[in-house]
């Protein structure tokens, strides 16, 4: 068994530098690696590219990195609910590549799976298709999308073991499994870190081979973006 455990978030993020590309798991604020994001803010690295489905909100998630103007480029599918993001994008301070959510997921998966590119129908006939190869399959036009990889992929899981095996909870799974595959170095922050052998191999979502560093997050705020309830 190869031990992937690092002591803390500082050690997990050892080697991150200005100008690097990061993948960050999560959908909205659900399943984001919040301890690592806080550490990236603290480290003050600049000019980074972030691949993440969303850009957080003004005062949480990737919004914290945007506030400090540490992000040079965002690759996302949906960035609403973040005023600072919108301001930086419209003023041209921030480079933004918006891509369909399914294409984003598949591009990350492809990056980790050794598939350099693939054809998808999503975005045909729209701005997204501009400059991309178009090919017809079964009478339907498709566009060529390329794989994505990152210097660091940072994911968040519910449980993990010392071998780097991960289990996600509910819809906090989202982009985390694909991004875990696509990092040159993949960091997993988990709510609960257990010795190898404690997780049921039948239940593991991300095999530890994809994870280089794992640590138990010190604190998880797990903020809810839209609290919707019904009355009893």
């Amino acid at each position: 068994m190869i031990n992937k455990v690092v002591a803390n978030v500082e050690e997990a993020l050892d080697g991150v530098q200005d100008g690097m590309t990061f993948m960050l798991g999560g959908f909205g604020l659900c399943g984001i690696p919040e301890n690592s994001i806080a550490e990236l803010v603290k480290k003050g690295i600049n000019g980074i590219t972030c691949i993440s489905n969303n850009a957080g909100v003004d005062d949480f998630g990737l919004g914290l990195l945007l506030q400090q103007k540490q992000i040079k480029k965002m690759i996302s599918s949906y960035v609403g609910e973040n005023d600072e993001f919108e301001r930086q994008m419209l003023s041209g301070e921030l480079e933004v590549d918006l891509i369909p959510q399914g294409s984003l997921a598949e591009r990350c998966r492809a990056g980790g799976a050794g598939i350099p590119a693939f054809f998808t129908p999503a975005g045909y006939g729209t701005e997204v298709a501009e400059g991309k190869e178009i090919r017809e399959f079964n009478g339907k036009p498709h566009i060529l999308e390329s794989a994505l990889t990152a210097d660091f992929a940072i994911v968040k899981a519910w449980k993990g073991d010392t071998a780097g095996n991960l289990i996600y909870k509910a819809t906090a799974k989202n982009f985390n499994p694909m991004m875990a595959m696509a990092g040159k170095i993949t960091i997993a922050e988990v709510e609960e870190l257990v010795p190898a052998g404690e997780l049921d191999p039948n239940q593991i979502h991300t095999p530890g081979i994809f994870v280089q560093r794992i640590f138990q997050g010190e604190r998880f705020e797990k903020r809810i973006e839209q609290r919707t309830v019904r009355q009893k």
């Binding site: 959908f27 909205g28 604020l29 659900c30 399943g31 489905n53 996302s76 599918s77 949906y78 960035v79 609403g80 609910e81 919108e86 994008m89 419209l90 933004v96 918006l98 891509i99 369909p100 959510q101 399914g102 294409s103 984003l104 997921a105 598949e106 990350c108 998966r109 998808t120 129908p121 999503a122 975005g123 045909y124 006939g125 729209t126 701005e127 997204v128 519910w158 996600y168 909870k169 509910a170 819809t171 906090a172 799974k173 989202n174 982009f175 985390n176 499994p177 694909m178 979502h205 797990k222 903020r223 809810i224 973006e225 839209q226 609290r227 919707t228 309830v229 019904r230 009355q231 009893k232």
Partner: protein
């Protein structure tokens, strides 16, 4: 009288087919889940990674790890399943989800849809909408017939950046139910209660096809 958002959702609920998987977009489409006709079994897919989405949780039982694509806290029904985003869009692109209901800023009479961007003004992104409209066999748009300035949202040609081309099959608005014809044009199928064909004609910039008597919607 023109319908409100709940009326639109109730009318769309009548389009639900038994034993199908359905993806509901944000806004009016979400409300459709509250009006499933009796005797119809449908399962709701939310593209962030759940099949078998249930109602909002009771106050105090919210789980930050359990949300829908609108980022709202939800519950999971018996038989529900969670999955990653690549699997979710495999369900969508692979046409395992039979019906998509979503909102729009503009729909053209050739089935084009625009709902993700107003250049220089509003940038939210397309989310999963481009994957959904490029893939589902049946796409129904739920929206108001006109925008806040009173201009038609049913057009000859979309003026905003497109989300998908030639994909919308049906449009349900506060005024009418319209089918997008394969050869082009909005065929008027039903009127909102008390709304005249003339009113619908006036609010529709795209080609409106009116054949024979147009019945009123039956809602409730």
């Amino acid at each position: 009288m023109a319908l409100d958002k709940i009326g639109i959702a109730k009318r769309i609920a009548q389009e639900l087919q038994d034993n199908t998987y359905v993806n509901l977009g944000i806004g009016i489409p979400t409300i459709v889940a509250n009006y499933i006709p009796e005797g119809i079994s449908v399962e709701f897919q939310s593209e962030n990674g759940i099949l078998g989405m249930g109602p909002f949780p009771f106050d105090g039982e919210e789980d930050a790890d359990l949300i829908n694509a609108g980022k709202q806290t939800i519950t999971a029904l018996d038989g529900a399943v969670y999955f990653d985003s690549a699997t979710s869009f495999a369900m969508i692109r692979g046409q395992h989800v039979q019906l998509t209901v979503l909102g729009a800023m503009e729909v053209a009479d050739n089935g084009d849809i625009a709902n993700w961007k107003i250049p220089g003004r509003m940038v939210k992104g397309m989310g999963g909408a481009m994957d959904l409209v490029a893939s589902a066999d049946n796409i129904i748009v739920a929206m108001m017939h006109t925008n806040k300035r009173g201009e038609s949202k049913l057009l000859k040609q979309c003026s905003l950046p497109l989300t998908g081309v030639g994909c919308v099959k049906k449009v349900v608005t506060n005024l009418a139910v319209l089918e997008v014809m394969p050869e082009g044009g909005f065929k008027l199928l039903e009127r909102a209660p008390g709304v005249s064909v003339e009113e619908i004609q006036k609010a529709t910039e795209g080609h409106l096809i009116v054949e024979g008597d147009i019945p009123e919607m039956d809602i409730n």
